[in-house]
Amino acid sequence: MSGAGPRRPGAVLHLLAGCGYLLLLAPAIVVAAVSFSSGPFLAFPPPGLSFRWYVALAGNQEIMGALATSALLALIVSLLALLLGVPAAYAIARLRFPGRTAIAGLLVAPLMLPALVLGLALLLALQPMKLVATWPGLVLAHCTLAVPFAVRIMTTAIAAVPEELEAAARTLGASPLRAALRVTLPLAAPGLFAAAALAFLVSFDETVVSLFLVGPRLTTLPVELFRYAETRTDPLIAALAMVLIAIALGVVLLVERAAGLTRTLSKD
């Protein structure tokens, strides 16, 4: 039954794997289909195809406002994540100093907490400071979530650049700062792209923590999406979900072109 050559997985494995992939990809595919539905319900298969829900989406002031807020917020957060994360990552990857492991641990700690608990904790802490439902509050919360990712990615990227290159630059007269900026960082550039993109997505898609920190005059797109899904069941949310998916895919593809994301994943 089995011929010579490298072992090929059997039909059973392929069947089960196929079921797995189906499960993973079905929601996204269905959302795409339903978003073009011409009917008023979240029905599948849709009665007909139309753009009406995308049109309705564009005309929905609240949601469009939330989209702008989320995009701007994500942009700010990804920039801040780089500004804060790159120096910290450099210190962790290159320098030896007491407390380095503790700092590295602290910089990853927020990811260990369930988003719900962090959201509640932030609400309790920011309320007395009157920072709930404000831009600084949201930026702080999103940065707390995004910086760990940026630090992790950049630490790996910087560590992958041979230390000897910086030593060579030093012997040629470059100060440690110059050596880092002219040699190490350019060579770690793919990591910069990935970190910025991931920070953007983490902020753009962030739902649970934001639920605690938004208010009547300041809300994010994922929160609006959640609230809408809680109360209504028309394909508008499918169209909105598609927009979110499209943006996330766009960012991933951008990073893939610039930095080879799938290579990093398959190396894992």
């Binding site: 000897e164 290159l165 060579a168 630059a169």
Partner: protein, 343 residues
């Protein structure tokens, strides 16, 4: 005699609680000379080079260049050109970019900088490869770019870490001569690290032999070869046969019951003796009965292994010599050929 350009004094580096990697290294290098740091792996030669360059911080001792104490200076302030074993070329810059990197922090106009870069590349024969990135260059070409990069800054000192070890065997001799010629022409004082003693003896003006962090001997190649100062140097540099015996009186040493004369002996007591193969003569008559057990043809000479009453003895003879494995004869050990050290 040129004045001292590089002076190391008591240079020491420790890692943790282990014995020092470099232990009180003290030596002087005249201006324009080429010093080889030679020794087995782990002897501290690369660490010493890094201490001179400032890539490691010394725990004790000093490094002086042209009288100036540079021990506390950061690498970027020492004006030393370093050629790393792996070349350490910047992958994202062209050859010209690499060579020009060290000039960026100096006050040079763009034209001056370009001229210096072109000059450096021409010096190593790579003028046409200026725009190539390192990955488009062969190993030998990469090394030359690394050399040009180190020389472009007109360094006070040129430091090379195992410059020939990554090269193919047939390239080695040629590159060796090129580096030597370049260094001589520029008159730059240089230090290079190697574990290959033939390379050190062929290239260097001065050889510092190190073992386990300590300096065994620092001398010109001939002195090292003919007059090793320590048992380690005697055994490490060049081939030799080693015996143990007893110094009974000045000039007299007993090995395996037989008495030998030696021109220099330490105080009476247990001793070790080294004899170079090319000092042994093998004939029909002599002091020591010997039987040839092995013969290795080496071109102009042949290396014979002799079985003698004092143990196996290596003898280097002319290739035309008639002795073959199984032949018996007599070996003579001239007193001047015995290097005796206390045990």
């Amino acid at each position: 005699m040129a004045e001292t350009h590089l002076a190391l004094s008591g240079l020491t580096r420790r890692f943790g609680a282990n014995p020092p990697a470099v232990d009180a290294l003290t030596l002087e290098v005249p201006r324009g000379a080429l010093l080889a740091l030679l020794g087995p792996s782990g002897c501290g030669k690369t660490t010493s080079l890094r201490l001179i360059a400032g890539l490691e911080r010394a725990d004790a001792g000093s490094v002086r260049v042209a009288g100036r104490d540079v021990t506390d200076l950061a690498p970027e302030a020492r004006n030393m050109g370093v050629v790393f074993q792996s070349y350490a070329l910047f992958p994202h810059m062209s050859a010209a970019g690499n060579v020009g990197f060290g000039l960026e922090t100096r006050r040079l106009s763009r034209a001056e900088r370009a001229a210096r870069v072109a000059e450096a590349l021409a010096m190593v024969g790579l003028a046409d490869f200026a725009q190539r990135k390192p990955r488009a260059l062969s190993g030998g070409q990469q090394q030359r770019v690394a050399l040009a990069r180190a020389l472009a800054i007109q360094p006070d000192l040129l430091l090379l870490d195992e410059p020939l070890s990554a090269l193919d065997a047939q390239l080695r001799d040629g590159v060796r001569e090129e580096i030597r010629a370049l260094q001589r022409r520029l008159g730059t004082t240089a230090v290079f690290v190697t574990h290959d003693q033939a390379e050190a003896l062929a290239m260097a003006d001065l050889v510092a032999v190190m073992d386990r962090g300590k300096l065994e001997q620092c001398a010109p190649p001939e002195a090292l070869f003919d007059a090793p100062a320590t048992p380690f140097v005697a055994g490490f540099v060049g081939r030799s046969s080693r015996f143990e015996g007893q110094v009974e009186a000045p000039g007299r040493i007993r090995i395996a019951g037989r008495l030998f004369g030696a021109t220099e002996t330490p105080a009476p007591g247990p001793a070790q003796v080294f004899v170079r193969p090319h000092r042994i003569t093998l004939a029909e008559a002599g002091d020591l009965p010997a039987r040839v057990t092995n013969r290795v043809f080496e071109g102009a000479t042949a290396l014979l292994t002799l079985d003698t009453p004092i143990g196996p003895l290596l003898a280097e003879v002319a290739a035309a010599d008639p002795f073959r494995p199984g032949d018996a004869g007599f070996a003579t050990l001239p007193p001047t050929a015995l290097r005796v050290f206390p045990l």
